[in-house]
Symmetry: C2
Subunit: 313 residues, 2 copies
Amino acid sequence: MPPYRIAVIGIGKIARDEHLPSIARDPRFTLAGVVSGSGASVPGVPTFREAAALYAAVPDLDAVAICTPPGPRTALVREALAAGVHVLMEKPPTPTVGELRDLAAVAERAKRVVFTTWHSQYNAAVEAMRARLAGQKLGRLAITWKEDVRRWHPGQDWIWQSAGFGVFDPGINALSILTRIMPEPVFVDSATLLTPANRAMPIAATIAFTSPALAPGGTLTAEFDWRQTGEQTWEIAADLAGGTALRLTGGGTTLSVDGTVVEDAPRHEYDRIYARFADLLAAGTSLVDMAPFELVADAFMVGRREAVEPFLD
Amino acid sequence: MPPYRIAVIGIGKIARDEHLPSIARDPRFTLAGVVSGSGASVPGVPTFREAAALYAAVPDLDAVAICTPPGPRTALVREALAAGVHVLMEKPPTPTVGELRDLAAVAERAKRVVFTTWHSQYNAAVEAMRARLAGQKLGRLAITWKEDVRRWHPGQDWIWQSAGFGVFDPGINALSILTRIMPEPVFVDSATLLTPANRAMPIAATIAFTSPALAPGGTLTAEFDWRQTGEQTWEIAADLAGGTALRLTGGGTTLSVDGTVVEDAPRHEYDRIYARFADLLAAGTSLVDMAPFELVADAFMVGRREAVEPFLD
């Protein structure tokens, strides 16, 4: 029972900016340790180089939050479940869809909670848009997710490698909002992936989707681009078949309806994530949401590649 | 109860070569109709241009077998479930992984059976190899799947398009055997996809996998190639950590152990598929096996593309 003793594995930017502050603010959690392969430490908290040392030194640990890049996450989750602790996973949860489905099964056998966080789902405006789309048919939904990779991922070489997903790293945030707000499932119909000649992963992509929620002749599209300098855009615009125009902007923080702002709250994603995790722990229930990740894999599978000019960081 | 009244949707090569003969041989099925958009017909059986006409004209239909190319399959399965009939699906079941997971949910809600057939799983030698791998660690497993696309897919342009999967169309047969025989799950670690400059889908691929079933230092690889003239190879070779050498050849029909053939039966894939379908119908249980398809999507997602010379049919 609370407070749950939690450790954070992987002390990088997302752990310091979001996880540690949200854990500190939530009375249902207490930070019992951190694990950092590079030796980063947090004042007043036991620090370990490897997760195995954490599990040996803190035997009454309840849970870990895994904030490393996705590459080693599968092994870290298996190790955590074997050590008997519950697991919260940063996005994207694993390098592959197959590993994620398997982890759900492993967690079930271990009778431990696994929680795949898709942080962009946890804003009030996202829930407000979901409520407005419930039971509706859509004439058009367009995702525009355009940002400057040099500004948001300076020198992060891993995002260009296999489990980094390229522009789908931010793009999956948009897709996780999409699967949360849509009243029916969404499937990839076609995609074009623009890939720099010197990189394995795409720098831009366009995707066309199908959904039973589309009105006849309706369209559902996404445009991701990492080459956007100047104004940055993270927006989902939807026209209901009845005529209402919805616009979710600021990466899911602001909702306007026919031009009038109806919801505009500051980002509280990670506070809501830890509140949800505490609820899941209390209920003993896992939440493994595969839908955003499947859309990414499907876009890569059906997508047509086009080579574009080399990207130099 | 048997005999189940079944119709075949999509009267192409696979329906004529395999499905119709196996249905004719199985006393638990009787052919009640066929649907062919191109107007192909089967003597003595009602033929329809569209599935809707089938459901209107044959109201006591129990099931359909969907043998069209994958593009329209999702809509056909939804239509069949809405019409209240059970569904057998040729491989690959849907154009995307997301659609397959959704169809499983739709079938559950409709209380109808959906059966994703991966035909290469249904040979006696595959079951024999599965039995020999049970509980074992592997030092090496190597899939070699090399065939001449001009010989096996003459003029089939759809295999080069999005839902055709290129060389993964035969490759998924190997992967479906792999997921059937392995004692533990298998995940994609890395992949290289060789794609002709004038095509969207790969003509060859190499994949490296991980698995908890590998011994330390063990390797699990696949090599798919559609440019193989002369001898055609569909083989899975495995060395147990204890030293035994297993070789599954002929696309899963022959198993040898340390050089001695221990199982060599003619292909009876589709007879076994229909026997299994009848069992599933009797039990009211779906079988939606996503593992082979997830491996394909994951290989496309993590894979590095290399352009190769244009392919002209």
